[in-house]
Each structure stands twice: as C-alpha cells, then as structure tokens.
Amino acid sequence: MARKTHVQTTINGEQTEFLCHPHQSLSEVLRDELHMTGTKEGCTTGDCGACSVLLDGRLVCGCLVLAIEAEDTEITTIEGMASGEKLHPLQQKFLEHAALQCGICTPGFLIAAKALLEHNPDPTEHEVRYWLSGNLCRCTGYDKIVAAVLDAAQSMGGDTR
C-alpha cells in the first residue's frame, strides 16, 4: 500500500496535522483518523449531504474531497459550530423547531444552512429549499428544517457568523 502523506490544515480554527493515504476522502479522515465523527456519511458518493463541511468557506461534500486537498485550507465541521457554551443560532432553532428526528442528517443540514446564511442572510423559503436540496432527510419531510432555517435567519438579523 502506498505511503501516507502528511497534511497540514486548519480545522475549526485549530492547526491540525494528519497522515493519510492518497485515496482517502476528507470525511473518512475526519471520522476515522481524527475521530471527529460529527461529520456523517450516508452514501460516500456525494448524494446525501450528511458529510457536508466548509472548505475555505465553501460548502462541499467531505466524501468527495480528497483528504490531501485539505493541505493549507480552513475546514469547518459541525464540531466547530457552537462557540464555547453557546450553540449557534441555527443549532438552537433546530432544537426549538424539532427539526431533527433521527438526527443523522442534522450536522450536514446545519453546515449547509450556515453556508447559506453566510451567503444570503435573508433567504426566501424557496431559496432555503433550493440550497438545501443537496442534503437528504428521510425523517422530517423538511418542513421543520426549513422553518428552523428561516427562523434562524430572522433571529440573526444578518449577523451570520
């Protein structure tokens, strides 16, 4: 088997190094090497969005990014969403709106929604649905997820960090 490659990156604001094989995806390394299992995998083919992370602020499927591509980038995962004791408003609104049932899709939706609000702080329902269409949820029918995102946008009033 090929030798491992050394990768230096920033994850949730922290300098991080890891070794990985060239074939390994970012979500695989996050989960299996760095034990950051908040990023989920539902398909590993880019179709469910459970593995959503931000790569230099851009929403990507962690399963479609090679881990070595993380070199010199900034990665945001679900583990970096709350700050200290305080949940991100999106996290809070997901809880208040009961926007999760089994919760396996939740980290992916939260990351995707965060990217949306950074990009468009005041989205319409249609824009929310459009943006979140890369994320599958089989439990909720999306209603409460969409409501939570709209409510979070409202409550954040444009402050989308």
Binding site: H35, E79, Q91, C102, I104, S133, C137, R138, G141, K144
Partner: protein
Amino acid sequence: MSESNGSDRKFKWVGTRPIRHDGVDKVTGRANYGADFDLPGMLHACMLRSPHAHARILRIDTSKALALEGVKAVITSDDIPELALTDASGPTNFSDLSRNVLARDKVLYHGHAVAAVAATSTRIAQEALALIEVEYEPLPHVLDLRAAMAPDAPILHDHMRTKGVDPTPDKASNIAAKMELSRGDVDQARAYADIIIEREFETATVHQGDIEPHACVAQTNEDGQTTVWASSQGHFMIRAYSARLLQLDISQIKVIPMEIGGGFGGKTTVYLEPIAIVLSRKTGRPVKAVMTRDEVFRATGPAPATLINVKFGANRDGKVVAAKCKLVYEAGAFPGSPVTAGAMCILAPFDLDHFLIEGYDVVVNKPKTAAYRAPGAPPAAFAAETVIDEIAHELEIDPLDLRRNNAVSKGSQAAYGPKFSDIGLLETLDALRAHPHYSAPLGENQGRGFAVGFWFNAGMQSSAEVKLNEDGTAIVIEGCPDIGGSRASMAIMAAEELGIDVYKVRPVVADTETVGINDTTGGSRVTFATGMAVIEASQEVVKQCCQRAASVWDIDPTDVIWQDGCAVATGDGAKKLEKEDKLVPMPIAEIAAGAARTGGPITGKASLNARGAGPAFAVHLVDVEVDRDTGKVEIVRYTTIQDAGRAIHPAYVEGQMQGGAAQGIGWALNEEYVYDADGVLANPGFLDYRMPVALDLPMIDTVIVEVPNPRHPYGVRGVGEVPIVPPIPAIANAIHDAIGIRMRKLPMSPPNVLAELVRASGGA
C-alpha cells in the same frame, strides 16, 4: 392501571414541546451512531456479494484472500450453524434468516452475501474480496410477480410448498403462502350493487431509505462473551436473533444501542451483526462492519412490489355493499411479505359486511423484503382509496360525503375481525372538510385529492425503570431505540406523573443488560407501550414517595396523596398533622434527600406486554399540478390530518405526520427499484433512487385530532406509521382531478404519467 384515558385530566407537560434531551448531542455532532464507534485494535469487515440474481454455489476458495497481508479471517456459511428449515418462531424463520445473512448452497439475489473478510483496514478487506474464488452455476431468475407465479417459473426454493391451500401441493412453487379473509356472502351481496368497479393496481419495489447505512462493532472475549455496538430498531432483537442464528445463549451477548440514523422498519432484523460476532470470535479482535449505500440498497429490506385487484360493488347512494380483493406481494428471496397486513388493512376503513380478500406471498430473486412503515398498507390503500374515489365520480356524489358514508366508527366490525372501540376516522374526515385547504381555489392544471389511511398499531413488550436521584430529579431507563424524539416523550410522561419539571428528568435508552426486555421500536408502539411502562414505573415511585412521607409524618399511607410533586396529607392524617401544626406538603426533593433514613433508594419498575394499542386513522389532502408536456407532478399543497389519541409531544407527532407524508410522496411519484435483464439492480444509490429533496416538497400542514385511546392512561395511540398510508392514493386522486387520468401503476413518475397523457390523447 386506571381505565380513564385522561380525557378530563389537566396536564402540565403532556402536550407541550420541550427541547429533546438528546438534542444538543445531535446538533453538535456528539451523538454516536452505528458507524461512529471504534475500539483499539479493531478490524474492518467487508462482504463478498453475489454477482448473480440466482445461482448455485459450487465452490468457494478463500485461501488466496486469507494469504493477503492484513487479512485476519474469511468466513462463509460453513462458519455459521446450519439451522433446520423449520426453525421458526412466529413469523421469523431462522433458517431463512441465516441463509440471508450468508448464502448457503444458492445465491438468491444480486447482492446476496456469500463471504465476509476481516482485515486491518477496509481497503485491505476490499482487496481480499477480489481474491475469493467462487464458482457459480447461474440459474434462470425471476423478478416479476406474474412470472414468478407462472407454472413454469424458475423455482427459488425446491422445498417450498404453498401454505394455506388444501390439500398441500406436492410441487414446489414460488407462492409461499395463500391467505384468505372473508365475511358475509360477496356473490349474493353483489345483487344489491348498482355499480361495480374492478381495477388492477401495480406498485414497484421501494426502499426505506434510512440515511444511516447499517453498521455495528462486535467484540468477543476468549470466554465467548460478546458485546455488540449496533444501530438498530431493537437491540434486544439483535441479541435474540444473533444468539438464535449462532446457537449461543442469549446471556452470552450484550448489545449496546448506538443512536440510530433512521429505520422505518429497515433495521428490524439482522444483517451484519452475526457476521461481525463470528469474525471477532475467530480473530479475537473487535470487528467493525459498515455497509456502503450500494449494499444497503442491494441487500437490505426493500418493501415489496405488489399487484392488487380490487372489485367494489356499491349501491346508488355510494354505499359499498360488497368487495373482492386480491393482493399479491413479493416477499423477496425468502417468504414473508407483508401481504397479511395488507390484506387486513385494505378494507379496514370501510364499514362493510360482505367481502372476500385473498393474499399471496410470492418469492422472487430480490433481497428479502423487510418491514417498511405500516408494512403492506400503502399499496392496499392505493387500490381501495382510488376505487372508492372513482365510484364517487361515477355516481356524481361528493367524494368526501361518500367516503364518510362508508367510514368505520366505534362499534363497526373491522374487516380483519374485531369491533372497533373508540377510533377517530369520522373526526379526521370532519376536520378535513373544515380545513381551509379543502375549499381553496385551484389553479390551471391543478387537481385536489384526498385519501384515508389505516394502521393497527402495536403494543408488545416494554420495560422501564424510574430512579429518583438524591435531589428529587429522576432518571428514566428504557430500552427502545429513539428514532424520532421518543426520549422526550418518555421524559414528559415521567414528569407528568412525578410532578417535576421535564428537564429534571433524564431519559436513557439502556443496553440489554441494564433494563428489562423491550421489543423493537416499530409498530408505532414506543410512545404507547414503553410510555405505559414509564407511567407505571413513575406511579410506583410516587407510591413509594407517599409511603415515605406517611412514615415521616407517622400517618396512614392511605391518607397521603400526590399533588404537583409533593406528598400531601388528607383525611385523618391531615387532621393529625394540623393538630401538631405540621400540615405542609412534602416536596419530592425532601423525600428523595431523606430516602436513606426512610428505607433506602426509591426506584420504580414496570415490565408489561401492552394491550390496547388503539388503531390509527389519517386523512391526507393534496393539491398537485401536472405538467402536460413532461408528465411531471408537482406537489403544490399538502395537509395531513391524523388521530393521535393524545399527542404527548405535538412537535414530534407533527414530525411523524410530515415525514410519513414525504416518504409516501416519494413512493408515489419517483421511487422504484430498476432491474436490468440479468436481475442486477441498476439504481442502488441516492442519485438514481430518487427520494424527495427539500425542493420537491411544500410545507406540510398538520392537524392533530385527539380521540383518546381508552386503553392508555393518557389516551395515546401510535402515530408513526399511518401517515405513509394515504399519500399514494391521495396523489393519484389529485392527478385524476387535474388531468382526468387514473394512475394505477407506481411510480407516477414523469415517463409513466406522460405515457398515460399520450394514450388519453389518442397518441401511440
């Protein structure tokens, strides 16, 4: 237990929407699901799966795979016990299950597991799979129900004789069983029918589509003691099935439930767990097995394709007087489709004296079907609820009037046998008529339809324990995996009984060694049955608290009642305390703090086989818009109305209603297994097996009707399954309303709808 269903009780927590106790773990990524668990020294397992839809296994040579660096074990069905063909309990045949877990002699579908490898990495395990030599003798396969029932069909199981026909046939058949339900005299009753409509329906194989692939870790000690970490709908089921398949004592296996990332019935049986156990036993190391999405589609329980024929006779007023139904359901590679449930459901919402229902359970070369939310009911409702709509149109009677005229209510004899007690079908239909959606204007190419759904709901076994902490807070321990917020419901019920704040109750889903047996999370049973156990256990705590207070006050325990989380003296006891100037309520915290002095820790336990799961009815109303050029059906507006008996946590009841509707919409419009000529599944991924995404759906309005279930202390009835029943017929009825075409084949996808449009316009 009290027979009152709490209809006059004033609730403090029941009906509120507290944040779920496991919520923060789930929004921060801390919650651990099946694949999130690792152990030091862990090996990774991969499965070799059949490339054929049907073949005899002539030879398996694993030696090259075993020789690969990093491979620690390779197993085949030779490494697990061969069970007698008749080894069954209830509907589960363990010989079949064993042969599904690892094929023996024959592979019966593309993707059927043939061998398993444990290696130091997934990569190496995958490489090893390619080194396993399997010699197959391909056999003709059969995927289609009609073909499977034909006299010259390729036979899947040479030993199989159709059950339920007299005399037992002497020839093997793919028809595993025939069942019949009847009442009255259909042929005679037909004479009273002014209109008879007979229609044939066809539905496709679909998948539960749970987002989390099946996953587990197993570790076996040198003394044979095994621990399994698994995400499933029932860890007690995992334990019992694994023990039975591997012929171990149940006490040798402990199963620790991981969070479950969706099940919908698809995680009510074992696939990987027995294999991981055997591999860990062979290697002496922990073994992790995680399916790929492709494997989930190819090898775990789809819901069956069906063929249904329905013939309704109705009089001039639209009252159905006689019905004949024939249901043919595919079981997959082994017997056991949900045709019985389908047959029992199909006429359940109709008040009807004369009917004959036949059901056929048919094996085909597809993965063994598994339960999927109200198993068997959605295709049955598709047939019955579209034909009843058609009758209304033929007779020019308002469909809702006609539907109501045929509805069952308290005292009606259900088609499947017993008389209904309190049920809420009429109430949901009335709520439908009253809803603004029902009379809102429609746009061009839009149509509106509604349909009724029925599901039995289940009770079954549950155990729970409530432990009072030293400060008067409490722990609720139960054993049903929480798929959709049930921990919050358990906490609410305990808080209600104990009279303490819902956030002072901590609900825990415990492993198989920590709590009494709990049947699987399924059948919409958890809030009902496990809830009942939690209520009983809480009442036991309350009883002990009252006794402790009585002993402190030195009064008769019967003079103590429980009010708002406090023991309160009444009657003679109160008089005595009043004299002593000590008549103040004793709060639970004080009782808990003094427990050591009054008799020790206070805990309550309850184990029960819950009776009285009240049946559930739902009505869905949908507006669709049909694109006449492409055949695409857009869901424009959707309203679900459902009798929940009593909504403990209304937000999660709504969530079940919305989620069930969304799954039903996917089933109706897009989802289907597509096979090629070789019997290979052509769309085993989310890209081509197209489930609804956020953009496909509107907001889904919910109306919770509450007709309390008289057999639950709060009136609860199950809510999880019935919402998947009405969407298919509701949408079919709406499509008819929009374009005048009756869709009788699923999915109602653009090509299928377009074909009907072209046919209707006289095209080719």
